[in-house]
């Protein structure tokens, strides 16, 4: 199920502004890859270009090639919705649909893509909620609004919603930045379990989190404000955090910069 994601010479623009330049990296299936770096260095932009969410903003475009198991996702005849179904995304702030119940939120991806049969939806909802460690907390109130849950539960609801459509890659854009340590731990545990099935790419500002959850880490940085972000170093997480080969990475990780 999990797939390999590789980027070659990827640059992304917001109108005339070049946000990232010539990113080359390959993410292996069934691993967790962390993207770290100072604010504004293009981690989120890169993440959003992997499932073609970058182009949602007016004037935004991507150059270079991004492939998932050798299929170019920016090919002319690629269906954007198919790409996004294959590559799911969890956002920084939990964004459950306010007009939908917990159950409807979880199966929103399936339902809005035409799955009607109630038994299929119910099975999928239970499976996704169990995977997201949320089933026990919400099984008695599936009809209640999703927006009524706590922040941590909402974020796990959004993860359940993402994995309910059974993507092959899950992108997470600072999924824990709005959460308390206990919810963060729950989501990190979840990433360990999800790794068996999915390829996970996570953007985080929390270096301990990157060190804890990821197998490989990519460090992005910029020279100065206004310059495009570049990939500085990409290696095994252990190597990055113990013995990085680039001075800049070491400076960032030890807190001397950024």
């Amino acid at each position: 199920m999990a797939k390999r994601v590789s980027a070659s010479n990827v640059s992304a623009y917001y109108g005339g502004f070049k946000a990232i330049e010539n990113i080359n990296l390959t993410v292996e299936p069934k691993t967790v890859t962390a993207l770290i770096g100072p604010s504004g260095c293009g981690k989120s932009t890169f993440l959003r270009s992997i499932n073609r969410m970058h182009e949602v903003l007016p004037g935004a475009r991507v150059e270079g090639s991004l492939t998932i198991d050798d299929q170019d996702i920016y090919d002319r005849d690629v269906d954007v919705t198919a790409v996004r179904r294959t590559i799911g995304m969890v956002f920084q702030r939990p964004n459950p649909f306010p007009t939908m119940s917990i159950f409807e939120n979880v199966v929103a991806g399936l339902k809005l893509n035409g799955v009607r049969k109630k038994s299929i939806l119910e099975d999928a909802a239970e499976k996704a909620l169990r995977s997201a460690n949320l089933w026990d907390e919400v099984k008695d109130r599936l009809g209640k609004p999703g927006a009524g849950l706590s922040g941590g539960q909402q974020q796990r609801l959004c993860i359940a919603r993402t994995i309910a459509v059974e993507p092959q890659v899950v992108l997470m854009d600072e999924p824990c930045s709005a959460l308390d340590p206990i919810s963060t731990l729950a989501i990190e545990d979840l990433m360990f379990q999800l790794k068996d099935k999915f390829t996970i790419i996570i953007v985080t500002h929390n270096m301990q989190q990157a060190a804890r959850v990821s197998d490989r880490t990519a460090f992005f940085s910029i020279e100065k404000t206004g310059d495009p972000g570049r990939l500085i170093e990409y290696d095994n997480t252990q190597k990055i955090f113990s013995n990085p080969s680039v001075k800049k990475t070491e400076d960032y990780i030890t807190g001397r910069f950024g």
């Binding site: 949602v56 799911g88 956002f91």
Partner: protein
Amino acid sequence: MTTTATSHRTRPPAQPASLRARRLPWYAAPAIAVAALALSAVIVYGTDIGGPVLVVVLGAILYLAGLFAAANAVEGRRSARNRTWSALIHSAFVLAVLPLVSVVWTLVSKGAERFDANFFQTSMNNIGARDANGGAYHAIVGTLEQVGIATLITVPLGVLCAIYIVEYGRGKFAFAIRFFVDVMTGIPSIVSGLFVLAFWVLVVSPWFNDGRPSFSGFAAALALSVLMLPTIVRSTEEMLRLVPAPLREGAYALGVPKWKTILRVVVPTALPGIVTGVMLAIARAAGETAPVLLVAGGGAAINTNPFENNQSSLSLFVYQQAGDASKYAPARAWTAALTLVALVLILTIAAKLLARRNRLSR
């Protein structure tokens, strides 16, 4: 002097010795109010300069002054200012509500006289100046049909237009649409009536009517549509813009196509606000007289067919009865006005309930 005052103000406030402060007793404010009114009455009637309205106005001013003085003496300056401003804000609320209450009271008290079964079952057909009865059945039918048709036309058109502007529109074309919608908002109702008169009644309707121009309820509905459309577009547009972008992105990230995201996520989220905007537009259209007078022509008989011949409407009925020479006409006008307000109120409440039913209750 100035320098000492400034330096006095810039100095940090002294730390209070205790967190407790002296408070005016609960009966102080009502007591001051009664005293202010009494004093005001003595002054006004003693010097014979005015009536009860002046007593209340002067009393309110005296109350504010007295309250400030009493609070300043007992509780201190900050608290006195707080009390005075609270009192001012409450007075502003009362001032704003007074006309509304007055309108409702006038409508109910004067409209009750003819608020009977006969009024809702008969028309003005063959009602002479000396006949006490006569009703607004034809006008109610006209209002419902004209506003109903106008709503059927404008709601889909207006909501789709707003969706285009917010979700799809880019560049000059969307800007032009927004600009012209803004311009349309300012169109006087008589102009929309003249437009439909010149375009529909005089040019188009002869095709359906053996070459003779014809008034119709449908023409009135078209004129009302011109008035309702900008209101609906603008309010829907504002409501759609309030839907947070992360909700749209959340749906896109699930592989949901854009049109379905708009239909199933964005519009339902904005629905209560959209309904409110639509109801405002309907309320405005239901009260319009000039376009109906120009293109539906009015009429005394019941005509349930909006596509042929003259039709009346409640607001037109009010206009005609208010200017009628019969001594029974004013009562009919008041009752029709009351009926119109009640109709809009009922529609608004019904729409709010319908919009809420789909939302999940907390």
